[in-house]
């Protein structure tokens, strides 16, 4: 018996048991039972993924479950990585959900859908045929939609967000469906193996169309511009543990789809322009996403935009990898793909942590608006520490989780240009133009990410509370802290000891690209084939030693005096009120001005005068909104066109049942006449 097989079976069994328990157990105990069983599902997923990454393979075909084609499951290296990530996020989210589910979230429907969602996240990377993949993909979309809509009685925006999500995820599904069906047309059978074998028979135009369609559908799921509009709407409105699952596990599966189609199924047909397109889209998404995050004042929306940015960076890595593969540098291709996979893993860890911490804040204060938070350090010290750790990890600063993957990505991009004294004209013009710009975009997004997370952490958690809700916040219950703790441990381990997973991911990438493993099995990150060495452990050790020295030496030399607490300097005018604190809007204002042409904010100043005299001002209200420009220029024309057609179509609906049926009869007869005449 294969470990992978046992673990997957255990995961499926425990998920179905959780669904049953959700329908049967009483309300008091429901979240605890369902949460524990779902955590077991996630843990089994992690075990399955880890076993498969270490070399075990698993494939099974069950033709009797779904008629006409059956279910086929295949777990290989690439799928195993995503399987393990989904499972790990599910464990943290499920444990967190035990404490978070209350009034409304502990109903039978929501609690029963949650384990199904987790199971579908585990099955999509394990799918081995196109039908299985599409069935599990649709299951994932439907269950996540039900979960997004679960709080609709409390807030009005939830319904609108769910509508956007439903429409866009199904449009994406249609694109993926058509693309995969094009791929499976010349193959006998729809298993991945058959499609792979028949890929060589596809003409370049057909293969290109299929890839672009799959890119559109999978890219929409990952939140890539311009099909990203659902992400900043749906992720904030979902319950926090569901947001964590969606942002840290579901969006990865879009990347999984692109890598599977481009590097595995269509490997023989891949062309350079495909990967350039992926790289360009990734770069634009990264830049646009982080820019929207910088000017965002809603805590969860900020995190959702940051997801778009991180997925953009992952696609930059994937695109660069394909580009390097197409110009004949397999080592660099493997390195870039390893960086992308590592970023997926790291992003899952810190994004889970951040969303769970944001959920804690929402749970304690009832608001997500950064401009009315602040001062949470006194009331919620553990949540503050967790968010601080997540912010450090997300802002790509050493020692941090994102820094390692960004370092590997930058190394692969930088070594793409060979030294001038090497073989002349070895790299085509496209790399000379694209690689420096890619490095610049990665750098800009890293800088903007620093600003975003300094703003989110500083304004939201430090200084003094800006509203009563923030002043009266108390720490979350133990299960929520446990979930956050798990995610924090994962993020720290990945930051300090990334070589636990990097060489394995390197082998997976090398297998896809066909090159030797790009990262050596050593304690520090050592690159093979190009020169590069990074040792995060030593960075941490050096910083700790230096900090000890800095604290100890002045104490030894200058003696120690007790610390005294004093008033903040207020120019002698009395204690400062929280209204003088910098808000999130004001913190981001300089950057908003710099990127004015891209963001085009809409500002409103309302001045209310006294009734008695127009020279005296009673109140001034300043409102600033940063709309999504891509939505305005791309989505609104499409939506207004569809609305116009809809209005024109209303004339057909007069109310008479006979007329409606008559439409059907006439259409049928017309079609038949056409058949006869043709």
């Amino acid at each position: 018996m294969n470990t992978v097989e046992v673990a997957l079976g255990c995961a499926a069994g425990s998920a179905l048991l959780a669904v049953l328990a959700a329908l049967v157990v009483r309300r008091r105990a429901r979240p605890a039972v369902v949460g524990t069983l779902t955590a077991i599902t996630g843990a089994a997923g992690v075990v399955a993924g880890a076993a498969a990454l270490l070399g075990e393979r698993f494939a099974v075909e069950l033709p009797w479950i779904v008629p006409l084609s059956g279910i086929a499951l295949t777990v290989d290296g690439l799928g195993a990585a995503f399987l393990a990530v989904s499972g790990a996020v599910a464990v943290a989210a499920a444990i967190y959900g035990i404490g978070y589910s209350h009034h409304g979230l502990d109903s039978r429907g929501v609690q029963a859908t949650f384990p199904l969602f987790v199971l579908s996240l585990l099955l999509v990377p394990a799918a081995g045929s196109i039908t299985t993949f599409l069935v599990c993909w649709e299951l994932m979309a439907l269950t996540s939609l039900v979960l997004v809509v679960s709080e609709h009685r409390r807030r009005a925006e939830v319904a609108s967000a769910a509508r956007w999500y439903a429409v866009m995820t199904h449009l994406g599904f249609v694109a993926v469906l058509i693309g995969l069906l094009i791929l499976s047309a010349p193959a006998d059978g729809d298993t991945f193996a058959a499609v792979r074998a028949a890929a060589a028979d596809l003409s370049p135009a057909v293969a290109g169309t299929a890839f672009v369609l799959c890119l559109a559908g999978f890219g929409s799921k990952s939140g890539i511009v311009p099909l990203h509009a659902w992400l900043p709407r749906a992720h904030p409105e979902a319950p926090s543990h569901v947001s964590a699952l969606m942002s840290a596990a579901m969006v990865n599966l879009g990347v999984y789809g692109i890598v599977r189609v481009g590097f595995d199924l269509l490997a023989v047909d891949a062309e350079r322009w495909w990967w350039l397109l992926v790289l360009v889209l990734g770069a634009i998404s990264a830049g646009y996403g982080i820019l929207q995050a910088v000017v965002s004042t809603d805590l969860k929306r900020l995190l959702a935009h940051s997801t778009t940015e991180n997925m953009g960076l992952v696609l930059v890595g994937v695109g660069a990898s394909g580009l390097f593969a197409s110009i004949g540098s397999p080592v660099l291709a493997a390195l870039a793909l390893t960086a992308a996979l590592m970023h997926v893993v790291g992003h899952a860890a810190f994004k889970t942590l951040l969303f769970l911490a944001a959920g804690s804040v929402l749970h304690a204060t009832g608001t997500r608006d950064l401009d009315s938070l602040g001062g949470l350090r006194t009331g919620m010290p553990l949540t503050t520490a967790a968010f601080g750790l997540g912010a450090l990890a997300a802002s790509a600063l050493p020692p941090g989780t994102a820094f390692v993957s960004e370092w590997v990505l930058l190394q692969s991009l930088i070594h793409g240009l060979p030294a001038p004294d090497a073989a002349p004209a070895a790299a085509p013009t496209v790399t000379v133009v694209v690689l420096p710009l890619a490095v610049a975009v990665v750098a800009l997004t890293a800088g903007l990410a620093v600003v975003t997370f300094v703003k989110a952490f500083g304004v939201g958690f430090l200084a003094r509370p800006r509203s009563d809700a923030a002043a009266h916040a108390i720490e979350s219950p133990a299960t929520m802290l446990a979930g956050m703790g798990l995610a924090a441990v994962a993020a720290t381990v990945l930051a300090v000891a990334p070589t636990l997973v990097l060489p394995t991911l390197g082998r997976v990438a090398a297998g896809l690209v066909g090159s030797p493993a790009p990262i050596a099995d050593a304690v520090s990150v050592e690159l093979v084939g190009v020169t590069g060495l990074l040792s995060p452990v030593l960075v941490v050790v050096a910083l700790v030693v230096a900090a000890v020295l800095v604290v100890a030496i002045p104490r030894v030399l200058a003696g120690r005096r007790a610390r005294r607490e004093a008033r903040l300097w207020d120019c002698g005018g009395g204690p400062l009120s929280p209204r003088t604190e910098y808000t999130a809007t004001s913190f981001a204002e300089p950057l908003q001005r710099v990127f004015d042409t891209v963001l085009q904010p809409v500002q409103d100043v309302d001045v209310t005068h006294h009734q008695e005299s127009r020279y005296l001002i009673a109140a001034v209200e300043y409102r600033r909104r940063v709309p999504d420009r891509i939505e305005r220029h791309l989505y609104e024309p499409v939506l207004s066109f569809v609305t116009r057609w809809g209005r024109a179509g209303r004339a057909l609906a007069t109310g008479s049942v006979h007329r409606y049926l008559g439409y059907g009869l006439c259409t049928l007869c017309a079609l038949m006449l056409l058949l006869v005449l043709a």
């Binding site: 930088i414 004294d421 610049a440 200084a463 990074l534 903040l568 910098y582 300089p590």
Partner: protein, 318 residues
């Protein structure tokens, strides 16, 4: 222990001591040059050390309402700069920790130091703290692309981003310094250093007007030993940045083998190079006015263009 490891360890220790001791002297030198050129007598090169000694002896004060972030930020900043001072190639080309002496890591570590102070600025809860943090992080974000692309330009020649490798490749091929790529990269890096260390025309280190402050606004609430650490940290940052600029482009004099004479020559060469650069920077400041905050992005865009041209030149032209 191999030769390069001993060299690295001894050199690292020596560098750290030299930078900690010499950074306030560097700041004093820059102020003295500026004073003399402006027609003043000046306070002398050792004045910053006298100020530090006075402040270290004062009573430590914590403003009410701040958290551990405020107390830990000065320690973090100085610790980070100390680590960079120990591992980067200033006195020796070999590094005690090769896994840390990577140009990306060094630039990112110095950015982490800025972030620590920015968080402390927000933690005070005053308007000036937030303002300083907001402006400082904006400039940091806009400077990142230039810094990384300039690193790209430097690493193409050396084939790696390891600091020791870059220094070694320049030592092996001295004429590469005069190549267009290196000159363009140097110009871009000068602007990066001006922005990161908070000197004119991006920020005036000697201003008293809070609304024109960028770095000073974040540290308005610090006093006593904390302020001393902050001042020491900024001085060390200036020294480290100038040292990197010097040794990446003009590394002659750096010790390449273990030996008392070689190390001594390395120390003297380092001190002289950093001193000359600091004096030049201070002299240039006399003739420059501070640029409006919203004109700074234009300046940084110009330096980005230089860095991009450096990369293209480093590939196209040998």
């Amino acid at each position: 222990m191999t030769d390069s490891t001993t060299l690295g360890l001894v050199g690292g220790l020596l560098q750290a001591v030299v930078i900690v001791a010499g950074a306030p002297l560097l700041v004093g030198l820059m102020r003295q040059v500026r004073a003399r050129m402006e027609g003043r007598v000046g306070a002398g090169i050792t004045q910053p050390w006298r100020d530090l000694r006075k402040q270290f002896r004062k009573e430590p004060i914590t403003p009410r309402g701040t958290s551990e972030v405020f107390r830990a930020a000065p320690v973090a900043m100085v610790a980070i700069t100390l680590v960079v001072a120990a591992i980067a190639p200033f006195v020796t080309a070999a590094s005690p920790l090769p896994g840390v002496a990577d140009l990306f890591v060094v630039v990112a570590l110095l950015a982490t130091g800025t972030v620590a102070i920015a968080l402390a600025g927000i933690d005070t809860g005053t308007a000036f703290g937030g303002m300083g943090a907001s402006r400082e992080t904006t400039i940091l974000a806009l400077v990142e692309p230039t810094a990384l692309v300039a690193i790209f330009a430097l690493s193409v020649r050396a084939g790696s981003t390891n600091l020791s490798a870059i220094v070694d490749s320049t030592l092996a091929e001295p004429s590469a310094v005069l190549s267009p790529a290196a000159l363009l990269a140097a110009a871009a890096l000068v602007l990066v250093i001006v922005a990161e260390t908070g000197r004119l025309p991006v920020d005036n280190p000697a201003t008293h007007l809070e609304l024109t402050m960028v770095h000073e606004a974040m540290v308005l609430e610090y006093a006593g030993p904390d302020l001393a650490l902050i001042e020491l940290g900024s001085a060390m940052r200036s020294a480290v940045y100038l040292g990197l600029l010097a040794n990446l482009f003009v590394p002659w004099g750096i010790a390449t083998e273990a030996g008392v004479l070689a190390l001594l020559v390395g120390v003297v060469a380092f001190v002289v190079k950093v001193g000359v650069l600091g004096a030049a920077l201070a002299a240039a400041e006399v003739f420059l006015a501070k640029v409006r905050l919203f004109r700074v992005p234009e300046l940084l865009a110009g330096s980005f263009l230089l860095a991009l041209l450096a990369v293209t030149a480093s590939y196209v032209l040998a």
